[in-house]
Amino acid sequence: MRVTILILIVLLFSCSSIDRRGDIENANLIIGKSTKQDVINSIGLPNKVEIKEGNEFWIYSGKELNSDFFIPLPVGAKKVSSNTYRVYFADIGHEIKYDFEPICVCVFNKEMVLINAFDPR
């Protein structure tokens, strides 16, 4: 029973590989030394890339753009044979669309070295 509950808890809070807010908050990047590859290994690819005045800006929101919930709710049952019932479900889930809100910007020079990293909020 305890193992089952533990498995259920683990499943309930299982990590998302799209949600990277934790990685961004705990990133250990060094201005003037870290490269694009270091940044990818640490916090992954950015959501957007912009080029301004010769520098490259990698913009991260750290979270999903859309979240869709499928929540099946039993709404009825029909007996189809002596020991079989057909159960009907309704999906009461909903969809959440998030606005793109940058939480981290990494700036690289032409040598692909990190020259700045900041929270634009």
Partner: protein
């Protein structure tokens, strides 16, 4: 199990699409093409990977989606143009990539304009991923392009003695984690051959690549080691699409057949 069944069904539908939409060059067209020089262009419109992952939350399922931009670290256009050129060359066509024929500025101008044209003709926004445009409809790829940068490119190719342009076009890449630890990388694509002298599309074919990895459902693993797995998946997929045994029945048709566009 439900999602696995859906995945299998999805794969079957995709395979079905590939078979049903396949058409063939006529023997004459194939012979004409072999007598002329063929330029090759691989083009990925958006240097992005769109992620979709399904998370099991005991009593419900949650599907998250996002889009990641790899344009700052990887541009596959030239590398994969080489791969496609090499494969088509093995079918006895005289092939060269765009960048080996023309000035980089002409090629880049064309690719930038093609991206704009792609977006302009998109069938709409992906309902699952806000801000992500879907590819244009199939009819788009059967219509001879008509925009300034293409006309410039076409004239430059004809001046260099190239009468045909073989294009491998993809809108973007998808990374899907549907469960069971799987990560599936797909790239919906269109292949087409343009006859630059006749100004018409003589062949087109819808296709897709899909590679499946067991990564514990972790999409971020595609990005590790300089996008190693992502690059591998795309390279394997493109090689399979342009493999000799797949393309030769369509491009080297030995049976008289007028079922071209």
């Amino acid at each position: 199990m439900r999602f696995f069944s859906l995945f299998v069904l999805f794969g079957a539908i995709l395979s079905g699409c590939a078979v049903n939409s396949a058409n063939r060059l006529s023997v004459d067209q194939s012979m004409d093409m072999k007598r002329e020089k063929v330029a090759i262009n691989y083009f990925l419109a958006e240097k992005k990977i769109n992620y979709i992952e399904t998370l099991y939350r005991v009593l419900w399922l949650e599907t998250k989606s996002s889009s990641m931009d790899f344009s700052g670290i990887w541009n596959p256009d030239d590398l994969l143009s080489d791969v496609v050129s090499s494969s088509i060359g093995k079918l006895d066509f005289d092939t060269s990539t765009l960048v080996s024929i023309l000035d980089h500025d002409v090629v880049n101008d064309y690719r930038k304009a093609l991206k704009i044209d792609y977006i302009k003709n998109s069938i709409g926004e992906n309902p699952q991923i806000p801000g992500v445009k879907l590819a244009p409809p199939n009819e788009y790829f059967k219509k001879y392009p008509d925009f300034d940068a293409f006309n410039t490119l076409s004239e430059a190719l004809l001046d260099k003695g190239y009468s045909y342009l073989f294009e491998y076009l993809a809108s973007d890449i998808y990374g899907n984690a549907p469960g069971y630890g799987m990560v599936i990388v797909t790239m919906p694509s269109q292949l087409r051959i343009l006859d630059l002298k006749q100004k018409k599309v003589i062949w087109s074919n819808i296709t897709t690549t899909h590679e499946i990895y067991q990564m514990g459902g972790d999409l971020q693993k595609l990005e590790h080691n300089n996008l190693e797995k992502l690059k591998e998946a795309i390279l394997i997929g493109v090689n399979e699409v342009v493999a000799q045994d797949r393309l030769s029945p369509m491009l080297l048709n030995k049976v008289s057949d007028n079922s071209t566009n």
